[in-house]
């Protein structure tokens, strides 16, 4: 029923004001029509059951039927053509009906006078706000006309009242319209803002979608495995390479906590602690590797920060280096075997030559002893080269470790002299050494490796110095560091070559013009050993005057109270 009524009164038009007026008109017409129908039934009933003047009965009947037909016609006009025309016709019809609704005396100056107020007020609502004045004028005309027709004075107060009412109606209707207009403007602005915002949001979502799609495509296509963790260490995403590399479905990772992931049975036990320490301490060891499902993977991790420098989590990147690791292992095994197999026969040559020199099998003349000496020296040189190769291979494989133990500094220098004094004096060079008084007698270090550093540096200095001296000094740097300084009076190193002197298999002269033997591993090994000891190497060289190598090492004394410090 409600829907039915709604359908009857509804109007479809674009102008909201017009729609409102026409809708109100429809409601009024529906009400009027209902009243007319009730009136019609009442008249018919009265006509049947009571004696009514037939002329009056006919007039009333025709009047009501006329009103009903008029309303139906106006309804059609309102629905199909024009709201304004329909409203005007309806109001005129209403005024006309009211003009005949009572005696002229009552209408002009009596009980029915008030009914003319209805079209005046209604017109402001359904026709136009100022139309109340039109109907005040029409009603005044009718009231005046009726008064004149019955010879009575015109009811001026009624006419003034009509116009006052018209004024009030006009004002209220106008303020209502203004208020509605403002509301509509606000609504429109609001709609515009909402539309703008919605469009902006849609555009930004689209941009993000495109960006995310591009990032995803990049991640999907790289061969390295990438897992992204949020700030709570839960895996947010993993790329397809992870699946093939770690042999675990991607779904398994998503949402899993980092600690849960490193508990996976395919991750080697020893790798778990390493991986965990790497993330917890945010460190990035060089050449860091883990074993997962029998594969060797190099791992790097990076914390992720947004524009506000807030930590967003971290990313772990895996690379399959199984093949490289195998090759490295083979290489180091090969070098170890070769070195061992080379050293044994060299040891035999050395031994037999020594036996000659020592005249085990009978007396030897000077020339024979000298020859035996040369065999010994060359064999020792060859053994030194093999040791260098072995050290290099071990360092490349990351197997060379530093064994810390108390070292007596004077012993280091004694050993150095016992090995190289002869080489120096053979070339007519002085090999001198000193220890800063302030240094402790003993400190913690790897005696064998420190000896190796000293021998390599001094050997090198002797090799490239033709006259003068090679000076070794163990010095105090600051309260946390000490150092080894080797200064020669040799030919010096050209500045352009300084950056390369620590490269493996390199000599300043280059391969084609080398006049000095050796693999060019000596300084490279020194540098790597010093790095392993967390130290630093510096070199200063002046062409024609000499070179100074300075090794600076962390000072660790076996006694925290430094009871072993020398008294200056």
């Amino acid at each position: 029923m409600r829907k039915y009524i709604e359908r009857i009164i509804s109007i479809s038009t674009a102008d909201p004001d017009d729609m409102r007026r026409r809708r109100v008109l429809n409601i009024l017409m529906l009400g009027t029509l209902s009243a007319a129908v009730v009136g019609l039934i009442a008249i018919v009933v009265a006509g049947v059951f009571t004696k009514v003047n037939p002329t009056d009965f006919q007039i009333l009947l025709l009047g009501i039927l006329g009103t009903i037909l008029g309303i139906l016609g106006i309804y059609q006009i309102n629905r199909r053509y024009s709201g304004r025309l329909a409203a005007l016709l309806f109001l005129l019809l209403l005024t006309a009906v009211f003009s005949f609704s009572d005696s002229p005396a009552q209408l002009s100056n009596g009980r029915a006078l008030f009914i003319f107020t209805l079209p005046i007020t209604i017109s402001s609502l359904i026709l136009a706000s100022e139309s109340s004045f039109l109907f005040a004028f029409i009603s005044s005309g009718i009231v005046a006309g009726l008064s004149i027709s019955i010879g009575r004075p015109i009811n001026i107060f009624a006419i003034i009242g009509f116009f006052m009412l018209a004024l009030v109606s006009w004002l209220s209707a106008r303020s209502l319209e203004t208020a509605l207009e403002e509301l509509r403007t606000i609504n429109n602005n609001l709609d515009k803002v909402v539309i703008d915002r919605t469009n902006a949001l849609a555009a930004s979502l689209e941009r993000e979608r495109v960006e995310a799609g591009r990032n995803q495509a990049i991640l999907n296509s790289i061969a390295d495995g990438v897992i992204v963790f949020d700030r709570k260490w839960n895996a947010m995403m993993a790329n397809p390479a992870v699946k093939s590399m770690l042999e675990v479905p991607l779904e398994w990772f998503i949402g899993k906590n980092f600690r849960e992931i490193i508990g996976h049975p395919k991750l080697a036990l020893k790798s778990r602690g390493l991986l965990s320490a790497m993330i917890e301490h945010d460190t990035q060891p060089i050449g860091f590797r883990i074993e997962w499902a029998g594969k060797t993977l190099s791992v790097s991790a990076a914390q992720v920060y947004n524009y506000q420098s807030e930590n967003m989590g971290f990313v772990i990147v895996f690379r399959d280096v199984t093949r490289e690791a195998e090759v490295e292992k083979l290489k180091s095994t090969f070098v170890a075997i070769v070195s061992h197999e080379l050293r044994t026969p060299l040891n035999a040559i050395l031994g037999y030559a020594e036996m000659f020199k020592e005249a085990i099998y009978g007396p030897m003349n000077d020339k024979q002893v000298n020859m035996a000496d040369r065999i010994i020296k060359n064999t020792q040189r060859l053994l030194g080269l093999i040791n260098d190769l072995l050290d290099q291979a071990q360092m490349e494989a990351g197997k060379l470790t530093i064994q810390m133990a108390p070292v007596r500094l004077s012993e280091l220098l004694d050993n150095l002299h016992s090995v190289l004094d002869k080489s120096a004096s053979d070339k007519g060079l002085r090999l001198t050494s000193e220890i800063d008084d302030i240094l402790p007698e003993r400190l913690n270090g790897d005696a064998a490796r420190l000896h190796q550093i000293l021998v390599n540096l001094v050997n090198n200095a002797i090799k490239f110095t033709d006259q003068g001296s090679v000076r070794v000094r163990l010095f105090y740097y600051d309260e946390n560091r000490w150092g080894i300084e080797v200064t020669d009076s040799g030919r010096g190193i050209p500045e352009s070559d300084l950056p390369y002197i620590f490269d493996t298999f390199r000599q300043v002269e280059g391969t084609a013009t080398r006049v000095h033997g050796g693999f060019g591993l000596g300084l490279s090994i020194v540098k790597q050993l010093v790095n392993l000891m967390n130290g630093d190497v510096q070199v200063v060289s002046v062409l024609g005057q000499g070179t100074t190598f300075k090794i600076i090492l962390p000072l660790v004394t076996s006694n925290p109270l430094q009871a072993n410090w020398r008294v200056p």
């Binding site: 061992h340 050293r343 044994t344 035999a348 031994g351 037999y352 036996m355 020592e358």
Partner: protein, 121 residues
């Protein structure tokens, strides 16, 4: 009778040189070139004053032989000198031997060392 030095070394040349060095200072020398043979030898026979033990041997390793020697009370007084080319392995056995010599081992070095160890007649 001179003290006995038992040389367990698979490289014949090195065994020769070591033998010559030890003989030079007055030891009687017995050479074994194989781990398994050495294992048999250690079961009986004369107790050596010095055992020169190579770690890298065929059939039975120097490490296993060292364990056997250390468990046998007869060798309580015997000096053990380990010879190896592998410095790392040398470090591993340093506690269980009297001396560890890293190859290359000089004839003179070995001769001088064993001369110091030999009891004065």
């Amino acid at each position: 009778m001179n003290e006995l030095a038992l040389i367990i070394e698979d490289d014949e040349d090195l065994a020769d040189i070591f033998a010559e060095a030890l003989r030079g200072v007055g030891f009687e020398v017995e050479r074994v070139l194989d781990g398994r043979v050495a294992q048999e030898r250690l079961k009986g026979g004369r107790i050596p004053f010095i055992i020169l033990l190579d770690m890298h041997l065929p059939h039975v390793s120097g490490g296993d032989l060292l364990t056997i020697i250390k468990q046998d009370e007869r060798f309580m007084e015997t000096m053990i000198i380990i010879t190896t080319a592998d410095a790392r392995m040398g470090d591993m056995y340093r506690e269980q031997a009297d001396f560890v010599l890293i190859k290359p081992i000089s004839f003179v070095q070995l001769r001088d060392l064993t001369a110091r160890l030999k009891p004065k007649q």
